[in-house]
């Protein structure tokens, strides 16, 4: 019997655009990230930063206390903000190319809990003062303490998941070569961060 009308599943549609997930990463790990790479050769190919626990990261989600913000530049206004989590400080920037995030930072009165979604960006200090990483903000929103607490648990879980998968994925093998950091170090970071929550 013919079944010509049967629906065929699978590849029924070409691959659609997949948004890059926002990785949960503590400041202590993010500041160690150095290795930046591009997947594919096209101009629009995404750029990733390789996290030391072995996962590529094109976008990050961080919730912490904005303790300070600085407005820089005359013609090209540019904001830098410090966002502190239980493990350290993440630098968040927003310039003319991120007008929405810039206006959002402008409205924040530190200290305040903020949720930041942004793209990691590795750069070298002009005076040869070393390599830094910051998050170029896509959005900065004032949130409540509970959201911050939830994020600490979320980042802890994500970091532990990455450590558990360490050595089993291509990205983590690459991380082992690039960084030579024992991931057990980050397990300690997570434990310390969680211990602070308990207080």
């Amino acid at each position: 019997m013919k079944r010509e009308n049967q629906m065929t599943f699978g590849n029924r549609r070409e691959a659609r655009f997949e948004r890059e997930p926002a990785r949960r990463v503590f400041a202590a790990e993010l500041r160690e990230a150095r290795h930046q790479f591009k997947e594919g050769t096209e101009e629009k190919s995404p750029t990733y930063v390789l996290l030391p626990t072995g996962q590529r990261c094109n976008r990050a989600f961080v919730v912490g206390s904005m303790t300070e913000k600085m407005r820089q530049g005359e013609q090209n206004i540019f904001y830098r903000a410090r966002v502190v989590d239980p493990t350290g400080t993440t630098f968040v920037t927003a310039g003319n190319y991120q007008p929405e995030a810039m206006q959002q930072i402008a409205r924040v009165e530190p200290p305040a809990f903020v949720a930041v979604v942004g793209k990691p960006n590795v750069f070298e200090a002009p005076d040869g003062g070393g390599v830094y990483i910051s998050l170029r903000a896509e959005s900065v929103t004032v949130v409540d303490r509970e959201t911050r607490d939830l994020w600490v648990l979320d980042a802890a879980k994500a970091t532990l998941d990455r450590i558990d998968a360490y050595g089993t994925t291509e990205d983590s093998k690459k991380a082992a070569e690039e960084y030579r950091i024992d991931p057990a170090l980050f397990r300690k970071t997570v434990a310390d961060a969680l211990a602070q929550m308990h207080l």
Binding site: M1, K2, R3, Q6, T141, V143, K157, L194
Partner: protein, 409 residues
Amino acid sequence: MDLSIVAERISQKILSKGKNVDQKEIEAKLRLLVDEFGVQPAEAERTVINELGREYQVQGLAGAVETDRHAIAELVPDEWVTIEGKVVGLSAPNSPSIAQTGIIADASGAIRFVVWAKAGAPCLEQGRWYRVESAVVDAFRNAPNLKIHSGTTVTAIETDKPLLPSVVNVAELKPGVASVHVKMVQEWEARSERILQTGLVGDPTGTTKFTIWKEEGKEPLTSDTVYDIYYATVDEYNGRLSLVLNSGTVVPDEEAELDVGAGGQVYGGAIVHVGQGSGLVKRCPVEGCNRVLSRQNYCPIHEIQPEFRYDLRIKAVLDDGVTTKNILMQRETTEAAAGLTLDEAVELAENSPLGMDEVFLRVQSAVMGRYLDCRGRDMDTTVLVTGAERHRFDPAALAALIDRAGGEA
């Protein structure tokens, strides 16, 4: 099966119509089909009967193949079947090669049928019982479909058997035909001019999409009203089910109360993006349109619509750190998630120099970065959220993570 017996049977049949055919010739035809082409004997018998019927211009030979009577609910594709059922729905055929389409039911369930124009079957009437012999069950879009072809015998039967539709739970729906007892819970923006109404209906086991196509005499459902829907067709498209009410009978049950189970799935994560078009929107007031208007009150179909109506929604991205989901919250969910009612939003927009942007900013700052547990259904590219709750801090989760990290509490 001994083909000579089959050949004799066929020969007798034709003889009874006053024509004489050589039995050997019949047997040779049968053998060719069975031995050379691997055709099942029953199918071969049917084929030969049809062939001879045409050749000798004899009518009424079909239906000679004995098939057992089947319960409609148990029909599976690729079977020859005989059923007795009542025609409970007829619809307009969409091709000249089809004489009739509709739904036939017995006490066990119901099935869609199609009568091919070439079948030469009598015209079926709604509400009458028929015995359908030697029809074929086929699958059309994963739903079983009864094909009445030239080899099928259809006889009207007189019976006063009462027919009670077998009602199923929403969670048990599968492609085909079904009767449900449901409450209309949501109306959606219709994407096509041909749609009278689309939205969600549900019962305690879950919810499902429904569609009513524009057709003479069709009425839209009323929100929050319970209905008995008999013999609706259940379609499957891209892995999700949709109840099409046009074929069915819709009876409101105004007394009834029904709790609608959420169904769907819970998606957890943080809101990492709030899209344009979130917040206050204006919708086209033309019945059945409901499209979002531009800032200048322009509907892509109905042009300028100054008598628009306001609505509140959120289009956002929910991200759990591994995957992202586009989500859509409609008015009620948005009101709860943003802590802002539609009336308040309208007032805010009318009194702020930023207008509707003010509502967007307010909604954005209320949900961005927040951890939400969104209950809903994945509609291919977007999760339609029917309920969203703030994820709450759980000390047990903290304790479990401390254990996992190997730290001391």
